[in-house]
Amino acid sequence: MNSQNGDREAILGRVREALRVPAPLKHPAERSAGGEPTTAHFREWLPPVGPSLDEKFALFAKLSETLRSELIVCADLAQAAAEISSLSSAESWKTIALHRGGLLDKLAPLLPSGLAQLCVDGGYDKNALEACDAGITECELLVAQTGSVCVTSDNSGGRVLSVLPPHHIVIARQTQLVTDLTEAYESLAAKYRANYPSMISFITGPSRTGDIERILVLGAHGPKRLTILLLP
């Protein structure tokens, strides 16, 4: 065994040997000319989403409710800051964590002055982040079909900010709402080309578990609450 990459050649050899006899395709589906299965048809089979923005929004709002995400439509940044401020006093927050970004740079100065801010860019102390009462992030996209928030390590403050503090607040614009996962992947591909962020995560509701008697409990390890502040 080569210690560099292990039993690479042996495994690939066994794979090629095994594949000399073809296996029948029992469930043929549409394929593109290149032989690759096409993604274009997925939309025809998955749960439908209306084409208009209103329909997308209605579905996203409905799913958010089922998922127990809290969706708040805000007229502007000032209202978003006010919402955070009232959450902050309701839960008596002391420190919130956030990151730098187009929306957050404008939002941060509007937040209550008594609320300490921990900015994760450029590195942070993980114990300090763990002690924060909430994390505020931007996101890449919102997905109507599944009620998901798509965050990446590139635009949502890295890998941990959106999952370590007990309350995750997402600030997004309505224009970020896409139809489904197919559109989400297409849009990520168009934005990042070959240079994807090292993490892409679709967050669908607050952290949850059903491990004890299959009874739903929120906040298993990640956030107990997920609040989405939606700007025009």
Partner: protein, 482 residues
């Protein structure tokens, strides 16, 4: 659970006999699964066309598995280009040693794990503990099973067989916490303990649901956020994944993720679906400095070499076939004695661990086909069970059994002889009670739990003959009256 030294078949029989009559446990399992079917049906019904979606999912996995070499190499190229490291392990030992050596070389002390059935498969935890590392399972169900010192009961719902009071007692004993019958409080106890585990760990170990070839990513599906933390916080990450998990492109997940969620738990999408393309990249805020992917063969290529059953490698481990299986519901997960329980486990385990030792699993099926019906990637599960049975006999014929069948065939082809022999059946019936349920009883496997039917005094043939004669007489009478 029975001891490991026992032959798998004997262990299975003993445990099945015990669990099938354990009404308390069966009730717990049935209750845990009661909501599943409703949720799954509800979410499945929102699909415009589940069947076509299933065909497409099967086609994607067929493409990937039948060009496994090409896609694995593509994944390796892309993932390595982003600073990831790929290690190919032929068997459990190579995989374990790689992880042990890596941990030693980096001076690791504590390790946090998120759910990985491959870890169970290669017995990783005992090896890490023996080498002196602290290892904590972070998925709530896995954590409970780890505290209990038990293997997972179901590869998606690890502790579905436990009641809340049992979990409360376990926490009281192991963690010194106060008793509670509230699932939320129990979850919060685990949350508090495990938070420290993520922060303190030097190494995170996870499995992976999909390997994405065209972008060089590992995709992990979970509900709790424990995998997000495991892959996010510690400075070294290792993902241990079976080679069959590959899919050609990132866009394929747009179909596979909703299907996995719907079939697995009845959700539209699982809580967190995260795709990782290597360690922290230049300019990023956080993430591990090193990201290793261990690609595990461990006899998967043996199954790959069987074109008839190759599609068993399409499995996305949603667990749906377990949830609908009447055998699973009655004998429970531990009885299988395997890493992968239920119908799919019965199909693949004989390929991974030896047909003769594990063929009994393929016999433990009602062949109702519920598994095949429910499978989101259309694996022909119950027919594969039949194929395992056939292969087992072809590989190692059972002479006494085939002699019985030969005698039966001989008899059936000779009506006169059959008629003569069947005269003795009532005699057999009369004598059988003398040896019933003793070592001499040739049908003891049956009589142990059931009554043996007694042979009728008049055979079907003689009754039929008499009936025909009566009918003929009636007709001729009618004819005479006309």
């Amino acid at each position: 659970m029975s001891t490991l030294a026992e032959a798998p078949r004997d262990q299975f029989q003993t445990d099945a006999n015990r669990t099938a009559t354990d009404d308390v446990r069966r009730l717990a399992v049935r209750r845990a699964l009661s909501n599943y079917q409703t949720a799954r049906n509800r979410t499945g019904a929102t699909f415009t066309d589940w069947k076509s979606a299933r065909s497409a999912a099967a086609t994607i996995k067929h493409e990937a598995v039948n060009h496994l070499d090409k896609y694995l190499e593509e994944f390796e190229r892309k993932f390595t280009a982003r600073g990831g490291k790929v290690f190919w392990a032929s068997n459990s030992e190579q995989a374990r040693n790689y992880i042990l050596e890596l941990a030693a070389a980096r001076g690791v002390r504590s390790i946090v794990k998120s759910k990985a059935m491959t870890g169970e498969e290669i017995h990783l935890n005992p090896a890490l503990l023996a080498a002196g590392y602290g290892v904590v399972e972070s998925d709530l169900g896995e954590y409970i099973q780890q505290l209990k010192g038990e293997a997972p009961y179901h590869f998606v719902f690890p502790c579905m067989h436990l009641r809340r009071d049992e979990i409360s007692d376990l926490f009281e004993k192991e963690l010194g916490t106060a008793k509670t019958d509230n699932p939320e409080e129990l979850t919060m106890i685990a949350r508090r303990v495990l938070r420290r585990a993520y922060i303190d760990a030097d190494m995170g170990i996870s499995g992976g649901n999909f390997i994405v070839a065209d972008t060089g990513m590992v995709s992990i599906t979970e509900n709790e956020g424990n995998a997000r933390l495991t892959v996010g916080i510690p400075k070294i990450h290792v993902a241990l994944i079976g080679i069959e998990k590959v899919v050609p492109c990132l866009g394929d997940l747009a179909l596979l993720l909703p299907m996995l969620a719907t079939a697995g738990t009845g959700q539209h999408l699982t809580g967190y679906n995260s795709m990782y393309g290597g360690p922290r990249q230049p300019g990023e805020t956080d993430g591990p400095e090193e990201f290793h992917v261990v690609l595990l063969d461990n006899h998967r290529t043996r199954l790959l070499a069987d074109p008839e059953q190759r599609d068993a490698l399409h499995c996305i481990r949603c667990g749906a076939c377990l949830n609908v299986c009447p055998i699973f519901k009655n004998i429970g997960g531990h009885t299988y004695g395997t890493t992968y329980q239920g119908p799919i486990g019965s199909v693949i385990t004989p390929h991974f661990r030896g047909l003769q030792d594990w063929k009994h699993l393929s016999g433990a099926s009602s062949l109702c086909g519920a598994c095949t019906e429910t499978c989101p990637v259309g694996i022909d599960i119950h027919h594969h069970l039949l194929r395992n049975r056939r292969n087992a006999v072809q590989e190692k014929p059972a002479p006494s059994e085939s002699l019985v069948w030969k005698m039966f065939a001989f008899l059936m082809r000779r009506p006169a002889l059959y008629k003569f022999a069947s005269r003795f059946a009532p005699l057999g019936s009369m004598l059988h009670p003398l040896i019933e349920r003793t070592a001499l009883d040739p049908v003891r496997a049956w009589t142990d739990t059931r009554d043996f039917p007694s042979a009728p005094l008049r055979s079907f043939r003689s009754q039929f003959k008499a009936h025909q004669a009566q009918k003929a007489a009636a007709i001729s009478q009618k004819g005479g009256a006309k």
